[in-house]
Symmetry: C2
C-alpha cells in the first residue's frame, strides 16, 4: 500500500522573501490529520505568545487535508489559519471551490507565511515550484480582477486565493476569496493577509495525491454516492438558501439583530429564500468534484442592484448565512439587494456574516438615535432599507466614513460609538455571531463559547450532523447531551482537518468518514480513533488560546443569543439556554478543569499532548467566570 499523506509544506518568510520546503513527519500527519489540526500543532511553536495578529510574528497558513483532492466525499476544502485580529486568539476558517485540491496538485499540503513583505506580493506555485511575485499592479484590485489577471498570466487552470481592497485596508473581518465567490470567511484572516502585504496565493499543477488504497477509495465513493441522504436533496436543489424561509420562522435564524421574532417581524422571509433566490440562478456551481453542487451563478442585469457589467452581470449565489445576516437580521426582503451585497463582499473580500452583523448593529444604533444621518453620511439606516444597506456595505469595505468605525467589527465599533451601543453588538469575544440561534439549537451555545474560534456554527452542534446519527435526544436537556456534543465536535474537527466538506458530512452516513480516512490515509479507520484524534486537535487549538491568556470562561455571551431575557413570542419563546449547565457537564466529560478549562494532565497524556502541561500549568484562574 502507498503512503496516504503528502507531508510537505512550504514556509515563506515575507520579510526576507525566503522560501523553504518542509517535510512533515508521519507522526504529525497521523496525530493531527491535516488542515487546522497540523497547523495548530505547528503554529503553537511558531507564533510567539503575545504576537500582534497584524504584525510580522503572526504566521498565516493555507492548509489542505489528506482527503482534499481525493475521491473522498467531499474533498474540496482548504483552511486558512493564524492568529485573529478580530477575536485575538486561534483563528481558522475554511473554503471550498477549486483552490484546495489544486494547492495539492501543485505539490504542497500547505503554505505558511511569516513576516511582512516590504511591498505587495503574491505566491505562485506550479507543480512543486514556488516563487514570490510582485503584486504592485494587483494591489487595490478586487478579487474578480485578480482572478482574471492571474488566470490570464499563468494559464486558465490557475486557481488563486486572494484578498480584495477590504483585506488590504485591514477591515478586521476581511477574508480571502477563491474562485470569485468561495470564501474562507470567519476570523478575519483576510486582514492578516493584508497586513502581510500578501495579495494572493495562486496554484497550478497536476501532481498526484498520494493515497493508501486508491482503489478502495474509488469503491467507497461509488458506494456512498448511491447512499446520499439527509439534506443532500435540498442542498442539491437550492444550496443553503433552501432553508432561509423556514429557518426565519422556526427560530433557527436570528431576526432583527437577534431581538425579533420571524412571523411578526419578518413575515416576508420567503422573498429571500429557495425558489425566489433560484429564480435568479442561471446555472449551478459545484466545487471540485462535488456531487451536490450547492452553489449557483446568478444573473442580475437590471434594476438598482444590477451586478457588475465587467462580470457580465453574473455573480455567486448568496448562501443562507448571507441571506439571513443581511436579510432576516436587517429586515431587508429585497433579494436583489442581497445578491448585490454578496457581490460587494466577494469583490472586496469580506466575511458576509460579520458584515451583515455590522449592518444590523448600525441600523439598530441608528433607529435608537445612537447614530444620526450626519454620522452615516446621509444614509437612512432604517430597518429593511435595502438601498442604504448596500451603500453601507460598500462604505465598510472601503473604510469610508462610518464604514471606518464599523470595519473594526461590532465589539470595537460599539466602544467607539458608546451611549449604550454595546447592547446591539452581538458577538462572542469580538467575532460576530452567525445566523443560527442557540435558543433553537442549544448545543451551539457551547460551541460559540467554547471553541477556540468563538462564535462559529460549523464546529459541532446538533443542527449539523450526519443523517440519522442522533435522532432521539431532548435538545433542552442541558445536562444530558455532552456525549453527543463530544462526538459531533470531535468528528467535525477531523472533518475540517481532513479537508472534507460539511455538506458531505451531513449527506452521508457517519461511517463514511472512517471509511474514507482509512482507505486514503491508512489511519483513523474507526470512529473511536476519530473521536480521540478530534479531541487532540480540539485541545491543541484550545491550548494556543490558553497560553495567550484567552479563556473561554471569560467570554461574553450576549443575552439575546441565549434568551436572557427570553423572547415572549414565536417558536423559541420562553427559552433561556442554560449554557452554564451544558458547558459544565461538557468540561467534566472532557476532563477539563471547571475553574480554568485546563485539561487534566492525565487527559493530556492520553492524547499524547503531555508537552503542553508545562505551559498550561502557568495559566491563571481567570478573574471572572461565566459559569460561576
Amino acid at each position: 500500500m502507498a503512503r496516504g499523506y503528502m507531508g510537505k509544506i512550504l514556509n515563506v518568510n515575507l520579510t526576507t522573501g525566503k522560501l523553504q520546503e518542509e517535510a512533515l513527519s508521519e507522526e504529525l500527519c497521523r496525530d493531527f490529520v491535516g488542515g487546522y489540526g497540523i497547523a495548530a500543532r505547528l503554529l503553537y511553536e511558531r507564533i510567539p505568545v503575545g504576537a500582534d495578529p497584524l504584525g510580522p510574528d503572526n504566521v498565516l497558513g493555507f492548509m489542505t487535508g489528506p482527503l482534499t483532492g481525493t475521491p473522498a466525499l467531499i474533498g474540496s476544502r482548504y483552511v486558512m489559519v493564524g492568529k485573529s485580529a478580530l477575536h485575538g486568539g486561534w483563528g481558522d476558517c475554511n473554503s471550498g471551490g477549486d483552490f484546495g485540491p489544486n494547492l495539492k496538485f501543485a505539490g504542497f499540503d500547505g503554505v505558511f507565511f511569516s513576516g511582512i513583505s516590504p511591498k505587495p506580493v503574491y505566491l505562485f506555485i506550479e507543480n512543486g515550484k514556488a516563487e514570490l511575485r510582485d503584486a504592485s499592479d494587483l494591489w487595490g484590485k478586487d478579487t474578480n480582477e485578480v482572478d482574471d489577471i492571474l488566470k490570464a498570466r499563468h494559464g486558465k487552470e490557475t486557481v488563486a486565493s486572494c484578498i480584495g481592497p477590504a483585506g488590504e485596508k485591514l477591515v478586521l473581518f476581511a477574508c480571502a476569496i477563491n474562485d470569485k465567490g468561495r470564501a474562507p470567511g470567519r476570523s478575519g484572516l483576510g486582514a492578516v493577509m493584508g497586513a502581510k502585504k500578501l495579495k494572493a496565493v495562486a496554484v497550478k499543477g497536476n501532481l498526484p495525491v498520494p493515497m493508501f488504497d486508491e482503489k478502495k477509495a474509488q469503491e467507497l465513493r461509488r458506494k456512498y454516492l448511491r447512499e446520499s441522504k439527509g439534506f443532500f436533496d435540498t442542498l442539491h436543489t437550492y444550496g443553503t438558501c433552501g432553508i432561509t424561509a423556514d429557518s426565519a420562522m422556526s427560530g433557527d435564524s436570528p431576526v432583527k439583530n437577534w431581538a425579533g421574532v420571524g412571523p411578526r417581524d419578518f413575515p416576508t422571509a420567503s422573498a429571500i429564500s429557495d425558489e425566489v433566490v433560484k429564480f435568479y440562478e442561471e446555472k449551478k456551481y459545484g466545487c471540485w468534484r462535488c456531487p451536490i453542487a450547492c452553489g449557483g451563478i446568478m444573473k442580475l442585469d437590471s434594476g438598482p442592484f444590477a451586478l457588475s457589467a465587467r462580470e457580465n452581470f453574473r455573480g455567486h449565489k448568496p448562501e443562507y448565512e448571507t441571506l439571513c445576516m443581511f436579510g432576516t437580521l436587517t429586515l431587508d426582503d429585497d433579494v436583489q439587494s442581497i445578491i448585490k451585497i454578496n457581490e460587494i463582499c466577494n469583490m472586496y473580500g469580506m466575511d458576509t456574516i460579520s458584515a451583515g452583523a455590522v449592518a444590523a448593529f448600525a441600523i439598530e444604533c441608528y433607529e435608537n438615535g445612537l447614530l444620526t444621518k450626519r454620522d452615516t453620511g446621509g444614509l437612512e439606516l432604517t430597518w429593511g432599507n435595502a438601498q442604504a444597506i448596500v451603500a453601507l456595505t460598500e462604505k465598510v469595505a472601503k473604510r469610508e466614513g462610518i464604514g471606518d468605525i464599523l470595519a473594526e467589527g461590532v465589539m470595537r465599533a460599539a466602544k467607539e460609538i458608546g451611549k449604550g451601543a454595546e447592547e446591539f453588538a452581538i458577538h462572542v469575544s469580538g467575532q460576530e455571531v452567525p445566523a443560527h440561534d442557540p435558543k433553537f439549537t442549544p448545543g451551539l451555545a457551547l460551541t460559540y463559547m467554547l471553541d477556540a474560534t468563538p462564535g462559529r456554527h460549523t464546529q459541532g452542534g446538533e443542527l449539523v450532523q450526519p443523517p440519522g446519527w442522533f435522532t432521539a435526544y431532548d435538545k433542552y436537556a442541558y445536562d444530558q447531551n455532552s456525549e453527543m456534543f463530544y462526538k459531533l465536535r470531535t468528528t467535525t474537527h477531523v472533518m475540517n482537518a481532513a479537508g472534507l466538506c460539511m455538506f458531505g458530512y451531513i449527506s452521508y452516513d457517519i461511517q463514511s468518514m472512517p471509511d474514507f480516512l482509512g482507505a486514503i490515509t491508512g489511519w483513523h479507520g474507526t470512529l473511536e480513533e476519530i473521536y480521540k484524534t478530534g479531541e487532540r486537535i480540539d485541545v491543541m487549538r484550545h491550548a494556543f488560546n490558553l497560553r495567550e491568556g484567552i479563556n473561554p470562561l471569560t467570554r461574553n455571551m450576549p443575552g439575546r443569543i441565549v434568551g436572557e431575557p427570553p423572547l415572549t413570542e414565536g417558536n423559541v419563546r420562553n427559552v433561556t439556554v442554560d449554557y452554564r449547565t451544558e458547558v459544565k457537564k461538557y468540561l467534566e466529560l472532557m476532563d477539563w478543569n471547571k475553574a480554568t478549562t485546563i485539561p487534566s494532565e492525565a487527559k493530556l497524556k492520553e492524547l499524547g499532548l503531555g508537552f503542553l502541561a508545562k505551559d498550561l500549568a502557568k495559566v491563571k484562574v481567570p478573574a471572572s467566570n461565566l459559569l460561576a
Copy 2:
C-alpha cells in the same frame, strides 16, 4: 350484524310548510352510498328539467353519508346539493365541523327543501322531531349572530348551518356556514338557500347511528390512527395554510390572477403562510372527532384589520384556498387583512374561492383601466392593496356599488363590464377556478372541465391522493394517466358520498376506505366495488347536467389555467396542458361518447343505470366541442 345505514330523510316543502319523512330503500343506500350520491339519484327525479335554480322548483338538500358521525376516519362531513345558479348545473359542496354528525344524531340522513317560503324560516330538528320556525328576527343577521341566537334558544349543543346576508341578497357564490367558520363553499348554494327564504337548519340530538359492525369499526379506527401518513403532520401542525408559501413558488398556486409567477411577482408569499398564519392562532380547532384538527381560532385584536369585537376579536383560521385566492392571486401579503377577509366571508356567508377570484378580477380590470375609481366608489384597486381588497369584499357581500356587479361572479361581471374584461375572468362555466394550477397538476384540467360541478379541486386529480398510492407516473404524459384519474375520481366520489373528509383520505392508506365502509355499512368492502360505485355516482351527476343541456365539451377553459400561451418563467414555464388528449383518453376509458360524453348503453347497464338511456338518447351533439 346490524343495519349499516339510517335510510331516512326529511322532505320540506317551503311553499306549503309541509314536512314529510321518507324512508330510503336499502338498494338506494347501497348503490349510491349517501351524500351527493343518493342526492343525485333523488334529485334527478325531483328537479324538473329547466328549473330556475333560484325558483321554487329547485330542491336544496343537506345530506350526510353513512360514515358521518361514526368511528370512520374522518367522518365529519355533510354535503349541500341542488341546482347551481352560479354555473347552472348540478351543484354540490361539502363541509366539516359538527353539523353533519349532529344532523344524524338528530335522526336524519338528510333534509331536502323544495318550494319557496313566504317568509324567512329555519328548520329545527331535535331527536327525530322537526319543525319550521319563523326566522324573521334572524333575517339580515350574520352567521355568528344566528349561531349564537339558535344556541341560546335551543341549547348550546345545537348546531346550525345558516346563511348570512350574502345568501339573502343572492350573491351567486354565497354559501352556508356552520360552526361560525366551516363552509360548504362552492356552487353558490347559499344563494339557493336565500332564494328559498331558508335562513338555517339547526339540529340537536343523541340518537344512535346504525353500524353494521361497530366493534370492527372501532378496531379499525385504532389501527389507522396509529398509521397516519402523508400530509397528516403538516395538516395537524398548520392546517392547509402550511403549504401556501411552497405552493406559490412551485407553480401549484396561481399568481396575480393566473398571469404571474411566484418568485418574481409574489416573493413574499411566506408572509401569508404556515408560521406567520400560526402566529395569530390562539388555539387549534378540530371538526367532530377529528385527530388532525387542521382548523384554528385566530386572535387579532388591534390594527386596521382587527376582528369583530362582538366575537372577542376571534375568528377562524384562513384556509390555503383563502390565503391564495386573496393573497397570491391579488398580491396581498398582509396576513392580517386576509384573516379579516376570512371573517367577512364567514359572517356574510360567501365562498372565499369565488370571492377571491372576483377581487383579483376586479383588480386586473382596474389596473387595465376597465374599472375606474368612480366605478369602485373610490377604492384604489391596485395589486396588493390590502385595505381596498377588504373594503371590496364587504361591498360584494352587501351587493353595494361595484359589489352588486361582482356578486354575480366573474363570468357575468365580465359581460357587464365588457371592454375586454373577459380575459381577466378566470372561471369554468361560471364557477371561479380554485387555487390549484393545472399546469402544475395536469389532472385537474380534466376535473375542472369534466366534473359535474365544474372548476372543483376536490373531485380527483393527482395532487390529492392517499399516501403513496400513485408515486411513479409522469404527470405530463397526458395519454397515460387515465386509469389513475379513474381510481382517484371514483374513490373521491365515494369519499364525498360517504361523509368522509378529504384530509382523512390523504392521511391514511387507501385500504382504510373499503375497510371502514365494509365495517360500517356492510357494503363496498373492496376497492373494486368502490370504483364501480364511484363511477355510478359520477354518471348520475353527469346525467343530471346532460339532460339539462349542459355539456362539458362546451365548457370554457381559460388559456391562463392551461398555459395557452405558456408562462415563460417559473417552475411551470413552457407547460401547456394537453387536456384534450387527457380528456379524450379518459372518455375512452369511461366508455363515454367523445362527441357527446353520453355513456354507452353497455356502460349504463353495467352500472345499473339503464333507466337513464331514454333521457340521454335525447341529448344533442353540442354545437361546439373543446376537444375538436
